[in-house]
């Protein structure tokens, strides 16, 4: 429906006019054309009074009739009336015929116009379709281009991500090694320590490397062994080497660290 309205608004003016006239005509015919009083009758004296069959002529002789002077008026009133009626009838018929003619012409015109319009519309549609197609093709190409570009970007990002991951992994390993070494150099085993004992601790760190919490999550079974493990962490107190760590690496891995104390170097 919308398209129809759009189409209508795009139609050229002649077509619009023709339609309007048709509508008016239909309306007039529908309600009767009345020779109303306001309509002043024209008094005209034709040259010949004989009632002859009026030929169907296209040309309009009404205005010429109007120009006739008013000389022979007195005794031919009735005739005049009949003539007038006749005339009127003839005029009416002529008019009607003319009107018909006009109608036909107008209709033909209108049809022609309509066909033109149709043709133009079709052309327009075709043009639009082509444009659309072209646009879609362009769109398609653009998308493909985008896709290609995206894949390239993706591959690059993957490679970068892999590199970043490897870097992060190796960094984590070396920070872990530093932490291990600090703890080892501070781990003093009690006399009750024996091979095979294992204690698990959980420590919480902050980015400065400061240990903020130590808990034994799995006891070795020997209180002094557990305490010595805790003490090793307390002696370290701050893994200052961790300060240089990238913050996201710290957050991901080093906020909370598990330590497993499992000595392999005990003589007993």
């Amino acid at each position: 429906m919308i398209n129809l309205t759009q189409r209508l608004s795009a139609l050229p003016l002649p077509i619009l006019l023709s339609v309007t006239i048709h509508m008016a005509l239909v309306a007039l015919v529908a309600w009767g054309w009345d020779a109303s009083n306001e309509h002043k009758p024209r008094i005209y004296r034709p040259q010949h009074i004989e009632a002859t069959l009026v030929q169907l002529e296209a040309k309009d002789t009404a205005p010429e009739a109007q120009a006739q002077p008013e000389r022979q008026v007195i005794d031919l009133t009735r005739q005049r009336e009949i003539q007038r009626a006749e005339e009127a009838r003839r005029q009416r018929e002529a008019e009607a015929r003319r009107q018909q003619q006009r109608d036909r012409e107008q209709k033909a015109e209108a049809e022609r116009k309509q066909r033109d319009a149709e043709r133009r519309r079709k052309e327009e549609e075709r043009r639009r379709a082509e444009a659309e197609q072209a646009r879609q093709q362009a769109e398609q190409q653009r998308r493909e281009e985008q896709e290609r570009q995206r894949r390239v970007d993706e591959a690059k990002a993957q490679a970068e991500a892999r590199q970043a991951a490897e870097l992060a992994a190796s960094q984590t390993q070396s920070y872990m090694a530093v932490m291990r070494e600090r703890i080892e150099s501070n781990w003093s085993r009690p006399p009750s320590a024996r091979r095979g004992m294992t204690a698990e601790l959980l420590i919480n760190l902050v980015p400065t490397g400061q240990v903020v919490n130590v808990t034994v999550v799995r006891s070795s079974g020997d209180a002094a062994f557990d305490r010595a493990a805790e003490q090793a962490v307390r002696r370290v107190d701050r893994f200052s080497e961790l300060q240089g760590m990238p913050p996201e690496l710290f957050e991901r891995n080093f906020r909370q660290v598990k330590l497993i104390f499992s000595p392999e170097d005990l003589r007993l």
Binding site: A161, R180, I183, N186, S188, S192, R252, Q256, V257, I260
Partner: protein, 429 residues
């Protein structure tokens, strides 16, 4: 964008999916740094004994502690209010002993606290101990025991004693006078229990620490004697021909194992101290000597050369079944079993050198503990942490100590004569 993140996370999976875990497999066993602050004392004259110094020396000797030298202490707190954790922390101190001593009616009263500097809390709070003026050293040993036990979880043996033989050489260099001595575990306050011109050997403790037994040649022949420490009463238990030697008390204190050769050959016997019944335990033509009891009292360890050279065997008393315990080295003798029954210490010869060795009775592992030559008479502390033995140093006989993992060693201050044959007392309950 989401794909990027997903990829990154994938690479982190092996680290992020499991908690970051660090395995600690080695340690450095640096001794624990402890500061023993001098006890507060308001007396007009200095105390005859410096309790804090004795405590620090005890803890250092154990090998587990490294006391902060007094000269390094920034302050001498004597009460809790004077303790500022951060000051001690900065010095690297891990534990701090603080206390004071006062004298009332001739008796000394000590109150003390032990602070955990790293953990910022008190481990011992307002503990008290008191004693007579002669007991100042005992007070120091008691405090040492409590500190040791609180921190290591093992009972301290600082309040124990040792027996030993001291020989005084004559002009020609060989001993002509012999003394049986009793001293503190740190060698302090030595006192003479017996003196003789004839050899004395093999002193040993009863399990309750009230009696001792030893071998004396005072009758011109070796004989086993028993003596009550409190009363000084002594009794000759044996008078057999041949050897009478190597007495050791059973874990229940009722019997004495010994070596007698009265039946023609050195064999192991047990003597019931109440009934005086003598029971023969071994029966072999080889030398069987140096008996000592297993921890459960059901068997006797002894030295025998029935296999050709001296090795250590065990006989189960109920069945008489004998099994060999030592297989390493050319010569293993004088075996003693630890109270927990796990370790056998002995004189062990390897490559012509006599060491003290410890053998794990469960898995048979042998550890040489000493680097010195001519080591003998190993005796284990009642808490199993240290071992005393006799050796030579500077041309004299001295006593030395080593821990069972050989990580700690020290020498007792040398005495006038040649010191040997130590015997470590049990805990005095």
């Amino acid at each position: 964008m989401r794909v990027f993140i997903a990829l990154i996370l994938c690479f982190f999976t092996h680290l992020a999916s499991a908690q970051l875990t660090i395995e600690i497999t080695r340690g450095m066993d640096n001794p624990t740094r402890i500061a023993v602050a001098p006890l507060g004392w308001n007396g007009s004259r200095p105390l005859p004994e410096d309790i804090s110094e004795i405590v620090a020396a005890n803890l250092e000797r154990s090998g587990q502690f490294s006391p902060v030298p007094r000269s390094n202490m920034l302050s001498f707190p004597t009460q809790e209010a004077d303790v500022h954790y951060r000051d001690w922390r900065v010095m690297g101190t891990e534990y701090l002993l603080v206390g004071n001593i006062e004298q009332r009616s001739g008796r000394y009263f000590v109150q003390y606290h032990l602070f955990d500097i790293l953990g910022q809390r008190k481990l011992i709070s307002a503990a008290r101990v008191d004693g007579s003026p002669e007991q100042l050293r005992d007070i120091a040993h008691h405090i040492s025991d409590r500190i040791y036990e609180t921190i290591t979880g093992i009972r301290g043996a600082f309040s124990t004693q040792i027996l030993y033989i001291e020989g005084f050489p004559g002009a020609n260099g060989t001993d002509e006078r012999y003394r049986l001595m009793l001293a503190d575990a740190d060698g302090g306050r030595p006192r003479m229990l017996l003196e003789s011109r004839q050899p004395l050997l093999s002193p040993t403790w009863s399990p309750d620490g009230r009696r001792i037994a030893y071998v004396s040649f005072e009758t011109t022949r070796p004989a086993v004697f028993i003596q009550d420490l409190a009363t000084g009463e002594r009794e000759q238990l044996t008078n057999f021909t041949g050897l009478n030697g190597a007495p050791t008390f059973s874990p229940d204190g009722q019997k004495l194992a010994m070596v007698l050769s009265k039946d023609g050959n050195p064999e192991i016997y047990t003597l019931d101290l109440r009934t005086r019944d003598l029971t023969r335990v071994t029966n072999h033509y080889a030398i069987d000597t140096e008996p000592s009891w297993t921890a459960d009292g059901e068997g006797v360890i002894f030295t025998s050369n029935r296999g050709g050279k001296p090795q250590i065997y065990k006989v189960t008393l109920a069945t008489g079944r004998v099994e060999r315990l030592t297989f390493d080295g050319d010569y293993n003798a004088r075996g003693r079993v630890s109270r927990d029954g796990r370790t056998l210490v002995m004189v062990h010869q390897r490559g012509g050198v006599f060491h003290i060795a410890a053998q794990d009775l469960q898995n048979g592992d042998l550890r040489i503990l000493t680097e010195t030559n001519l080591d003998e008479s190993p005796t284990i502390a009642p808490n199993g942490a240290m071992l005393l033995y006799a050796t030579r140093f500077g041309g004299k006989g001295i006593l030395a100590a080593v821990s069972l993992d050989a990580g700690t060693r020290y020498r007792l201050p040398s005495k006038q004569g040649n010191v040997r044959e130590p015997a470590w007392s049990p805990f005095f309950e």
